[in-house]
Symmetry: C3
Subunit: 147 residues, 3 copies
């Protein structure tokens, strides 16, 4: 039976996760990679490209992000990650599966902003009181990523 307390807790968590994602993705888009990595658990994993090995641990995630952005050194680009339609499903171990649409807007100087790419983000969130952390993030693409 779902009690009123449960559902209040549910909507509280929903807004908490929205705010968590907002801070997290503003940090990523502004290049604050340590802050982004700190939103993962110490042993968290992050796979941003299907078919590759995920980055592991906060230090590993920071290193991966620096390597990724190094590729765009001669082609400066601003990205904005728009998250939408967050679905939270509680799991047996107390964590939450979070399934989220992500529209990435890519902006290059002198070009029109464009959507590149359209993704679905699959997270596992652990919630301790009001602290949210990510145990894992896996990104799937609606089409294969390419330049």
């Amino acid at each position: 039976m779902t009690t009123e307390t449960d559902t209040r807790a549910g909507t509280h968590l929903y807004a908490l996760v929205q705010h968590f994602y907002a801070r997290q993705m503003q940090a990523l888009d502004e290049g604050r990679f340590e802050e982004y990595a700190a939103t993962f658990t110490e042993d968290g994993t992050f796979q941003h490209t299907p078919g590759t090995e995920p980055a592991r641990t906060r230090a590993g995630i920071v290193a991966e992000l620096h390597a990724f952005h190094e590729r765009f050194r001669d082609d400066p680009v601003q990205r904005r990650h728009y998250f939408n339609q967050i679905v939270l499903d509680p799991q047996d171990d107390g964590s939450y599966r979070s399934t989220v649409y992500a529209l990435i807007v890519r902006i290059r100087q002198g070009e029109r902003p464009e959507i590149w790419p359209s993704c679905v983000v699959h997270d596992v969130l652990v919630v301790d009181g009001d602290e949210v952390l990510m145990r894992s993030r896996t990104v799937s693409y609606d089409q294969l990523p390419a330049q």
Copy 2:
């Protein structure tokens, strides 16, 4: 007079409706039409194209969605419905009018994702405890839909 209890109930409902929409539209975009139809009341109506007769009842909505998607059999396309700027207005009969921006991203293999189309969704929601159902959905377009 608006009491604190009222406004807490208001923000609780707001997050509840966001989560409801997230599940609903992920179901639609993944082709789970029965699950989408089940978000309507038994006698719910769904008009996705202005000037056409709305689909009526859950069974009618499922049939309509299958017919719509049949048209794209030879032209596979992935859609992602982004909902934003949800405005909820209570109505005299206890239901809520919900006015929502919808940006649909359309993805075809080998093409760039594009916005097609930009819509405003007009829903009537009935809320019983923490169950949300749609009595009706009418979609208006910022320009006429075309291929």
Copy 3:
């Protein structure tokens, strides 16, 4: 120390601000400029273009919006402002800094909807009970605005 009451208040405020923005931006996009201006404090300021003087007071904001839209008299365009990734930071004076992604979809008849432009909105919000008002709004662009 953050108490449970604090964090419940935090997620309550988060949903309150989302709903506030939804009403505000639907008003702007539908050309209800007085309603948009009324979301500012009496002495509020609004700078929509970097490097220009901000509009001041509600009357000044209405006048500025009429002047801006006059420019599009011969080129009718529908805009939809999508807000996302809202980050709220409390300030010492009791107000909140709000940093928000804004994707503007521009729709012209006979053309595809396009993203123009991609922005970050920097607001200062004052909250009195459940009334939210804006003391200031400053918009930054990911690239320079142009036609």
